[in-house]
């Protein structure tokens, strides 16, 4: 997409290792993401791709290696974590909207309490974001009254309300009915075109091919292959990649 990339990576991972108990989930993962780049992570279930992006905003803690986001290294320092989290928006597979708050309150909550914006400003921004994801008329409803696709779009708007530099998507369309996937992907495409740095875990190969700058294949906790969509779909090198693609295409 955006061809002009600054030289410094906004996310830099070096030798990231993580264990769940004795289970080695992430094995020496190295990945650099440039500003405004869209990286799509694919791979079979249990390959560690979700765990990896959850490590980036410290929802999971890595035990070895180094993750640097926008010049700040992730460590146990609480202030670092808070600083990094406010730079990164995240969208979950299960939406995780707050069911006891209206759509508008869902979106305006974090700006009001974390960024300390006045209520009116936060709600105006929230309405603009709802406009952007195409459902301004749902502002006063509760999440339980929306369809899955609408909920996921609210979740995207909620993440964007903190004006993040990076957006993480953890299988955003996996819990949706087929006819709702498109509306969410359209919002994500539009977001990518606007120059947002995005890390997307997904099984939507059409989206990967169309939007991604780079595709990363995870298997058994390591990166197996990484390249442009062109390279990936027309000329895969690794046996595992060929096998994976043959199974899902």
């Amino acid at each position: 997409m955006a061809e002009t990339k600054s030289s410094e990576p906004i996310i830099s991972c070096r030798g990231v290792n993580k264990w769940f108990g004795n289970f080695h989930v992430l094995k020496d993962v190295d990945l650099d993401v440039m500003p405004q780049e869209v990286v799509v992570i694919i791979g079979p279930s249990g390959s560690g791709k979700s765990t990896f992006i959850r490590c980036i905003n410290r929802l999971e803690e890595h035990q070895e290696g180094q993750i640097i986001v926008d010049g700040i290294e992730l460590s146990h320092d609480v202030r670092n974590i808070a600083a990094i989290r406010s730079e990164i928006g995240m969208v979950f597979q299960q939406f995780n909207l707050f069911p006891h708050l209206t759509v508008l309150d869902n979106i305006a909550l974090a700006p009001r309490y974390v960024r300390r914006q006045p209520r009116r400003t936060a709600e105006e921004t929230a309405l603009q974001l709802l406009e952007r994801v195409g459902i301004p008329e749902q502002a006063r409803k509760y999440p339980g009254q929306l369809s899955g696709g609408q909920q996921q779009r609210v979740a995207i708007a909620r993440a964007l309300a903190m004006q993040p530099k990076i957006m993480l998507f953890d299988e955003p369309t996996s819990a949706l009915d087929p006819e709702m996937i498109k509306e969410v992907l359209d919002v994500m495409k539009q977001l990518a075109q606007s120059g947002m740095t995005m890390l997307v875990v997904t099984h939507e190969m059409g989206f990967a091919r169309e939007v991604a700058d780079r595709i990363v294949l995870f298997d058994e906790g390591r990166i197996v292959e990484m390249g442009t969509p062109e390279h990936f779909f027309t000329n895969p090198q690794h046996e595992r990649t060929k096998l994976f693609l043959s199974q899902i295409l």
């Binding site: 929802l59 979950f92 707050f98 974090a110 309490y113 974390v114 993440a159």
Partner: protein, 621 residues
């Protein structure tokens, strides 16, 4: 095998669809509801009929008992004790003031925040209407007949009453000549000794050993004024000089002036020659005479007007205690003897309360858009707690607000106080304990767990005894603390432990994704807990929390065992301590049960409304 199609195998509907018709009458409306719910099948119909019969039978027995023979006076003669315990009599105005404050604040809050205004408005109107209508109706109900018994074992008593000018009173002399015509009434008003004597005699009559008709009853009735002068009838003779007549007789008389009257009852035992033969029973039925709740009430109410009642040897007074009733009583008598006295006590406070509430509601409704009004009401509630406590307790040495130690607080006041303090204090404590038990810091987690499990493992009564006896022994600073306050602490700690477990249940059903989403948005743990987790968790366990509050409310009755007289304790003291109320424990405890039920039901109703309101009713996780 496919056959040949004929014309009837093809069909095209006409362009116009047929008009909609009404469903059959048996499937909609009340009839349809009955059919669908109560008589949907044979077994359902049988169950409905049996249950309806059982419920009706129970209701009927209860109602007929409470109208025909129950003595509710045990409560309304003791209203002060029931509501405030041994709180100083001359300081009761402070409780009235507190009630007024609370009623006014409730009205204001309803006006400001209430969405149920119409329902409450109607409820207030209905209560006012009842308050007006019942006394009016009761005033139209004729005074009940008063029965004066003439019995062979002792000289008959005179009968004292208040009469008004132009009032017509009538006396009927009614000898009892067979066993049956006396049974019903005798079971009623008469003190137990006469009843026992009569029942022995009646048994003899039934067995045929005694003919009451053979016994002479020579009784002379005379109507006297307050000075003891016989009243003369229009014809000139003394009124009611009517002597023994086995068939009975009646006289009626229009009273000439306001004041006290005495019906003199004289039995002439010499008529038959022998005292023993003058053994018959007779009723004198007095009609048109005002009855009073008690002799004291009558003296108080009428002494100003008519002076003290005349001193008569062996007088029966036209008061309810003299004619305490255990047998059948008519509905009219129920109204004038039981309902009116109660209403005459509560009608003024209720009017004042309703007026305050209504005023508050109007002000609140008018001012609901003004921030100042909303803040003032909120501030009023917050301020009301210390203000109320100061008003109720007062200061040592103060003249206007002398100290009323909490040890004499009692009745409904103490019950409500213990409940409110328990709820207000145990809720935050319970939430804190629940959060503490889920803390990642082991020291906090273990301390909270230890506290919760210890308290939950001990009966409340033990905790109350500990609060009374053991704790001050270990910790001398506490021994100076009022017993009532120590009980509040005990009840609060107990309730908090259970509440913590309820809240923990709510915390556990919040999906971890909610916390992750909050953290991903940059909310710190405290914000995530207060903004995301707790609102959902608490809402999910509203029924359990309110259930805990209701049992806290009922458990306050246990403080009676450590010597505080809350509602149950004080009523127990009334029925066991005052001889005249001893026979009426049933009435007393039924009234308490109703009070407890009404308050508990109101609490669970509020919880239902809370559950159904706002986002909770449409949440889907």
């Amino acid at each position: 095998m496919r056959g040949r199609y004929t014309a009837s195998d093809f069909y095209v509907a006409p362009l116009e669809s047929p008009p909609s018709r009404r469903p059959p009458i048996t499937s909609v409306g009340p009839l349809g509801w009955l059919r669908a719910n109560l008589f949907s099948s044979k077994s359902n119909s049988i169950a409905t009929v049996i249950m309806a019969a059982l419920i009706l039978w129970f209701l009927w027995s209860f109602l007929s008992w409470s109208v025909r023979s129950a003595q509710w006076g045990v409560i309304y003669h003791n209203l002060r004790l029931v509501t405030s315990g041994l709180y100083d009599r001359q300081e009761i105005w402070r409780m009235e003031l507190v009630a007024g404050i609370l009623v006014l604040l409730s009205g204001l809050s309803l006006g400001v925040w209430g969405r149920l205004a119409r329902g409450v408005f109607i409820a207030v109107l209905v209560i006012l209407l009842i308050l007006v209508v019942v006394p009016v109706l009761a005033a139209r109900v004729p005074e009940p007949t008063i029965y004066v018994l003439v019995e062979p074992q002792r000289p008959p008593s005179d009968f004292v009453f208040v009469g008004l000018k132009g009032q017509e009173v009538s006396f009927t002399f009614d000898p009892l000549t067979d066993a049956q015509d006396a049974d019903e009434r005798l079971l009623g008003f008469v003190e137990s000794q006469a009843r026992t004597e009569w029942s022995i005699r009646a048994a003899e009559v039934r067995a045929g050993n005694l003919d009451l008709g053979q016994h002479n009853l020579a009784v002379t009735l005379r109507l006297l004024d307050r000075q003891g002068r016989p009243l003369t009838s229009q014809a000139g003779s003394a009124v009611g000089d009517f002597a023994a007549d086995p068939a009975g007789g009646a006289l009626s008389y229009t009273l000439p002036a306001d004041g006290w009257y005495v019906l003199e009852v004289r039995r002439d035992d010499s008529v038959n020659g022998s005292v023993g033969d003058n053994a018959g029973y007779a009723w004198i039925r007095v009609q048109g005479v005002e009855t009073f709740a008690s002799q004291e009430a009558a003296a108080q109410a009428r002494a100003d007007q008519f002076g003290q009642p005349p001193a008569v040897e062996r007088a029966l007074f036209a008061d309810e205690n003299s004619y305490r009733f255990e047998g059948a009583r008519s509905v009219a008598e129920f109204f004038s003897l039981q309902v009116t006295p109660l209403f005459s006590r509560i009608v003024m406070p209720c009017f004042v309360g309703a007026a305050l509430f209504f005023n508050g509601w109007v002000i609140g409704t008018l001012g609901r858009r003004e921030k100042i009004v909303r803040r003032a009401v909120l501030g009023g509630w917050i301020l009301s707690a210390p203000v109320i406590l100061i008003i109720l307790r007062g200061f040592e040495g103060s003249r206007t607000l002398p100290l009323v130690p909490t040890s004499v607080w009692g009745g409904l006041l103490l019950t409500i106080l213990l409940t409110v303090v328990g709820i207000v204090a145990s809720f935050p404590l319970g939430v804190a304990l629940a959060l503490g038990r889920r803390s990642e810091l082991p020291a906090i987690k273990w301390t909270c767990t230890l506290f919760i499990e210890t308290v939950r493992g001990v009966p409340l009564i033990t905790i109350l005894f500990m609060a009374k006896q053991i704790v001050p022994f270990f910790w001398s600073a506490l021994s100076g603390l009022d017993l009532a306050i120590r009980m509040m602490i005990g009840v609060t700690l107990f309730s908090a432990a259970y509440l913590a477990e309820n809240v923990r249940g709510g915390l556990q059903i919040i999906p971890y994704g909610q916390i992750e989403a909050a953290r991903a948005l940059g909310l710190n743990p405290a914000l995530a807990t207060t903004l995301i987790v707790l609102p959902q968790a608490l809402r999910a366990v509203i029924p359990a929390i309110v259930g805990q509050f209701i049992s806290l409310f009922k458990d306050t009755s246990l403080v009676a065992v450590v010597g505080l007289f809350e509602l149950v304790g004080i009523v127990d003291r009334i029925v066991s301590g005052q001889a005249i109320y001893r026979p009426y424990q049933r009435e007393a405890y039924i009234v308490i049960a109703i009070i407890y039920f009404v308050i508990s039901y109101a609490m669970s109703d509020v919880s239902r409304r809370l559950e159904q309101s706002g986002a909770g009713s449409i949440r889907r996780l």
